[in-house]
Symmetry: C2
Subunit: 333 residues, 2 copies
């Protein structure tokens, strides 16, 4: 409060290959004014997501981010002033604040959030990550007790919750992650039945050993070779929940899709279904009630990876794309 400078991080150039710090620049902007229908907010926590990188490729479920504009990104923010109905100073909201201290956002694009503690949970287990895991697994994957569920990017914000919910539902759960440490964490701390280190090579064999009865539900965060390996080990009538394709986001997307499409889809009667968490928001109250009860009972562990300082947001995203985070990564502004 009382600031007169609004620090902003611009995307100065759209990357054609790997994303690097040279694609961003921090500038001192001016404080936004509160126009009719808008709310001015102070950003508290910025969410880092692989989707940030996908937005640079072009329009997806949202417009593409453009060069020389403030980098887009969701965040938890506090209302400073409001000329939109339903918002008052001190309210906590979620919205696309962008990577900046202050933002003016249309009231209709903001969601009021409960004032729970820690506030970071609003971005992790009770935010997009938790709801994505919840709806994607339960409504798209539809796991039944005793089935085998495999999730990729399993140590990430969504994957770590997917695996734990699958365990709560009585499934045999296999996580795919990069590196021994992450894999050990999945099985020793989060209760996964097995973990496959894709950096170890031999993913196909390791997956077969970890999922000896085949795969009934694959929650796909990565696409590419890992999707291909899972496709070939799916059981008849298996479900693949397509949540993202991290492997394709940073750098030049691969020229081809996974082998087995559509051959294995036909023969095994598979369902591959893409989803966006926003499509389920009318059911979020029930989902949040489930998530809160699991967290309260200790069945669902929340892992967060909080980095301090707006100026560190670019490297936080670059590191996320390289897979250095465990659980939900965010920046405290």
């Amino acid at each position: 409060m009382g600031d007169t400078v609004n620090r902003q991080i611009l995307l100065v150039e759209k990357p054609t290959g790997k994303l690097g710090p040279e694609h961003f620049r921090m500038v001192n902007g001016t404080m936004p004014e509160t126009k009719d229908g808008e709310v001015v907010v102070r950003t508290r926590y910025i969410s880092l997501d692989a989707a940030n990188r996908a937005w640079m490729h072009g329009a997806t479920y949202r417009a593409a981010v453009e060069a020389n504009t403030v980098m887009a990104g969701g965040g938890i923010a506090e209302v400073i002033s409001s000329r939109a109905p339903g918002f008052a100073p001190g309210d906590i909201v979620f919205g696309d604040t962008g990577w900046q201290d202050y933002a003016a956002v249309a009231g209709k694009h903001l969601t009021r959030m409960p004032k729970l503690k820690p506030m970071t949970h609003l971005l992790s287990v009770y935010g997009i990550a938790g709801l994505t895991a919840y709806f994607g697994l339960l409504q798209i994957g539809k796991p039944k007790e005793g089935e085998t569920v495999v999730v990729s990017a399993a140590a990430g914000s969504v994957g770590s919750i997917v695996g734990q919910i699958a365990r709560i539902k009585g499934c045999h759960v296999v996580g795919i992650a990069g590196g021994k440490d992450k894999c050990h964490w999945l099985t020793s701390e989060l209760g996964f039945d097995a973990a496959v280190d894709y950096k170890d090579g031999a993913t196909f064999k390791a997956l077969r050993a970890a999922a000896p009865k085949g795969i009934d539900v694959y929650f796909d965060n990565v696409g590419g070779d890992i999707l291909e390996a899972c496709l070939s080990q799916m059981n008849n009538r298996g479900r693949i929940a397509c949540c993202g394709a991290i492997s394709q986001y940073d750098g030049v997307p691969s020229a081809h899709g996974p082998r087995g499409v559509p051959g294995l889809i036909v023969v095994k009667r598979l369902i591959m279904q893409g989803f966006i968490v926003m499509d389920f928001m009318d059911q979020s109250a029930a989902a949040l009630a489930d998530l809160q009860s699991w967290v309260a009972s200790g069945k669902l562990k929340v892992q967060e990876d909080v980095i301090d300082g707006l100026e560190n947001t670019p490297r936080a995203l670059i590191g996320l794309l390289a897979g250095e985070n465990r659980g939900k990564r965010m920046v405290r502004v």
Copy 2:
């Protein structure tokens, strides 16, 4: 009747590339005996299907066909003698008779067929082809009135029925087929709204012109490049019914799947679902009633391509894989 020789066509070698006449040989076998639980049948019509070729690659929803055995294939046959309950001489049945004059088949693997005329309709519109089109389009594709439905191999046995049912349901229907003649036939005779000739090059552009509002349902018989072109033109929440992958059957399957998997599946919230008609057989009575009423009213035209002589079965299949048939191809034995 009264025959003592059972002509049989053997698959003498599994093809590693394109299927040719050299992979088959006709031999004179002996008449089968009627063992307990079995029925001996006289083959009347042999069904030719792209799936025949897929079976040579390995186990699918059925065991692989093996070298030096009678080539597998479904057919309509007449019961000669029976030691299985429910079957009597003169009955008309459908089953995997193989490519031969006479076969001994377990009663439980035969389906009694109604004695309707022409008998060939039991293999086309009232057989696997018609039911595949019916269930695949309506239960997997789930088209709504006014939506755009695209079907590949549209002049084939399944595709020609898919397109006509989609028209009956009030959809804008686009067929993809090889050659000007087939395309003209689809629009002038079968009532398709538009047709795209994939042999003409520029499939992507032609498809865009034929389906200007994008694709809501794609009934995929071919996989490969055409699936890739359709994927990129799907509308949000579109459905892709995966019925087969003819483009991948004959020769060496392509090393990769279509681009856009899983990226476009996520962003557009698509559903890709494979199916096998057998999974819907408990609902076949209702389907047959619909199909019969459409045929009776002239809304659904039945196109058959009947070739005479068991000895011509290999070239009938080879020609089918090259796309020379219109509608359901079969051999009169």
